[in-house]
């Protein structure tokens, strides 16, 4: 059964990918990319990688689509014909693909229980993590505790991306140009007349925020965690900005707040690590945080997930602002 689902999803994925490559209308391409993300999220679910699927759905379908749309609204909605032959790219892609396929020839089969991947490190994660770390969701214990340092790095990557964007685009808004034409999609002006949207948004936004908090704090038990929660929380704010205008959203959470939040999230994460050192453990050794190692792990994971969530949220909104405020319009 799973095989059929896989085949169906893969076929759809291929079709979507071809369509993205083929189509010249950027708006459609972006929408198709969103679909592509959803499809791959479904594939991840089928592979039992729920956390990954969750992230893919939140980031790939949600935030990145919005950012792409914003980016497109700054340029043009149609792709120019490239001056070189697309054949060229085909060659590159086929070569790389062929090499990749060649490389997988000597790999153990997917799901092969004898594969060494299931025997070495994973064994301990599966058997020991409930006793050593605690959370029933093993993914969380691997991400936040066993390999918590990688997650710190990833959080820093998010912060870097935001700061890079701000450094290159600038955080200030450009001068308001009242006469400029309103081209592209998602104009805030028009939203005033869309009563349905406004009312639905008012109903949905609190729910989205609440859901984000749930994902944040329930990450230990179910799929989810700081990354997803941050993205979902950010999408609540972004929705608000889309419907009620950038100005209004900025009154709720302005740049300075976001900037401080972004920094504080990372500082919180690092701070937990440093606190562990101060309490006599290694860096990020949560056992040191409380008398009972399990309590320490729990507290540590809670805190760092919070840090991740805060940073991701702040950076996502900053990114949105940075693109949106370059449009030359204000709501």
């Amino acid at each position: 059964m799973e095989v059929f689902i896989d085949i169906a999803l893969l076929t759809l994925l291929c079709i979507t990918a071809m369509a993205v490559v083929h189509i010249r209308k950027l708006f459609c391409a972006i929408m198709l990319l969103g679909i592509f993300s959803l499809l791959s999220a479904s594939m991840f679910v089928n592979m039992d990688a729920v956390d990954v699927a969750f992230t893919e759905a939140a980031v790939g379908t949600g935030i990145s689509t919005i950012l792409l749309l914003l980016g497109m609204s700054l340029t043009n909605t149609r792709e120019k014909r490239p001056h070189y032959q697309p054949l060229f790219s085909l060659v590159v892609v086929s070569i790389t693909g062929a090499v990749l396929v060649y490389g997988t020839m000597d790999l153990p089969a997917y799901g092969d229980p004898n594969a060494s991947i299931h025997h070495h490190v994973a064994q301990r994660y599966i058997k020991q993590s409930p006793l050593e770390v605690g959370p029933p969701n093993m993914v969380t214990s691997v991400l936040a505790s066993y390999r918590g340092y990688d997650t710190l790095g990833e959080t820093a990557v998010i912060l870097t991306a935001g700061m890079a964007l701000v450094a290159l685009l600038g955080m200030r808004r450009r001068k308001v140009l009242p006469m400029s034409s309103s081209s592209g999609c998602g104009d805030y002006h028009d939203m005033k007349d869309h009563l349905v949207l406004r009312i639905m948004a008012k109903i949905f936004i609190p729910l989205i925020l609440l859901f984000a908090l749930y994902v944040q704090f329930h990450g230990d038990y179910g799929p989810g965690g700081g990354f997803q929660a941050g993205v979902i929380f950010a999408s609540g704010i972004i929705l608000y900005a889309l419907i009620f205008g950038l100005e209004a959203a900025m009154k709720v959470v302005g740049y300075p707040v976001l900037r401080v939040l972004a920094a504080c999230g990372l500082l919180l994460y690092g701070g937990v690590g440093v606190a562990c050192m101060a309490l006599g453990g290694n860096f990020l050794d949560y056992n040191a945080l409380a008398h009972d190692p399990l309590h320490g792990q729990h507290l540590g994971i809670f805190l760092i997930e919070l840090g991740v969530g805060v940073t991701v949220f702040a950076i996502m909104v900053i990114m949105f602002y940075a693109f949106a405020s370059r449009r030359g319009h204000t709501a």
Partner: protein
Amino acid sequence: MSVDLLLSPGFIIIGAAVLLCLPTARWRKIVVGVAPLLALLRLWALPTGSHGTVAVATFNLDLLHVTATGRLFASAFLLAVWLGGMFAAASASRRELISAYVYAGSAISVTLCGDLITLFLFWEAMAVTSAVVIWSARTRAAWSAGMRYLLIHLFGGVILLAGIALWYSTGGSLQLGVLQRPSLGYWLIMAGFLVNTGAPPLSFWIADAYPQASPTGMVFLAAFTTKTAVYVLISYFAGADILIPIGLYMAIYGALYALREDNVRRILAYSIVNQVGFMVAAVGIGGEMAINGATAHAFAHIMYKTVLLMGAGSVMLSTGEQRGSALGGLARRMPWTSACVLIGAAASMGVPLTSSFVTKSLILEAAAEHHLSMVWLTLIICSAAVVFNAGVRFPYLTLFQPQQSEAVEHGHDPGTLSRVAMMLTAAICLLVGLFPGYFYTLLPYPSNYHPYNVAHILEQLQLLLPAALLFFISLPLTTPVGQIQLDTDWLLRRPLLAMWHNGIMRLLALGLRSRDYAVASLVRGYTLLFHYHGPRGILARSWPTGSIALWVALMLVSYVILFTLRSMDMATFIKLYLHG
């Protein structure tokens, strides 16, 4: 690197050169007055032997290796740079002082280093910095003379380096010590050294280059290059017979050419060749006494040549004139200078009670001891012929002949510091002559030679006075000419010129078309190079990002193919291929 090495006397002097960058003249004077003395103290505080090596690449450089000979040479250099610096401090340009200090520091380092590689490095440093000293005169003539000088010395350096490389590659040791076992490397090293002594056929560079330096610059130049060459000959080639004829040639050459020279500083330059010839011959004779003699005479020569050049420098500074035919009658106007020059001249001739008397006789005695009668005779004649250059001719032309031109009216003694320097140098010349016993204890080998006996004194006077008499009598015959004298360089130049005019031009004309073709193809090659590598060339352009991706893919696939092909041998490859 230990502090010991950093504080070697040579490095102290080079460090002082850095201090000389100081803007104010007062500080510079203090540095000039103090630094060499510190270095001198340091030098005599160092025990003999090696003071540790520094590993550079695979060589162990013996940067500081004190030997008795080296120490005496280094002391002479330090005294020369001290006195010369004081003499120059008032009038020399900052550039000249700095380069002279680096030059002196390098020369001192040559005398205090323990292997050929280090020696070569400082050798080249000397060549470059001394050229800068010449250029510091800031005249056109000085520029081209400095260039010729530098070319000759770099040429010598190349020979030396080739020699060292050959010597090393054939298993020779680079350590300080007399080289045995003549081979091509041996001869090349010797030739490289000899270029700096002013040996034939390149003897002309001394008289060509030195007099073009500034009045103060030549004081420095005369002291170091030739004497370091003597030092290295002593250290590496003591007793090499070939050096005897070379030394004799130089001694005669110097005496001959000085006789018809008009430029007084050039007279002194020829005198350097003459005296260095004595030392080279002594090195060739070998044996304790000869080496003692070469070392002692080098010391004495540095001192009296410094005093003579200071005198010539003072004359030139005040009158702006260095042609013998335009000087004269300065003895009254420059009493202090004249007194010092007289002492220097006496020292150069070897008049009893002066330095040369007690040093040169060591060399003569050594020649006699080895029963080299012809050598002895030639050296005797040459030591009499010193009268023709530094001994009588120079002071006579400069100071005592009847006044020849207006320029002399401006003659006056130099400033206090310079005068003090000059007098100190003269005093050293006298002291060495007065207390030979003390001086001999500093020499590399113990000596029981006693210069002062009636016979020896009389002999010396008997040599000098007739020579002087002859000189004065033949004065009208040896009238200076206002032109450059040519020697071997003429021999090199004349046939070359003739060939240039007759043969080569025609050959060139014949080969013009092929040359044009070569040039054209060169240009085409350059264009091709430029086409691909130039700013717009295919290899330098900013490429579209996509094409780089193609490169990536190509590299990737070629790596995979190559890995696969190479990592399994062909048999297993085929086996795997057949079985899927």
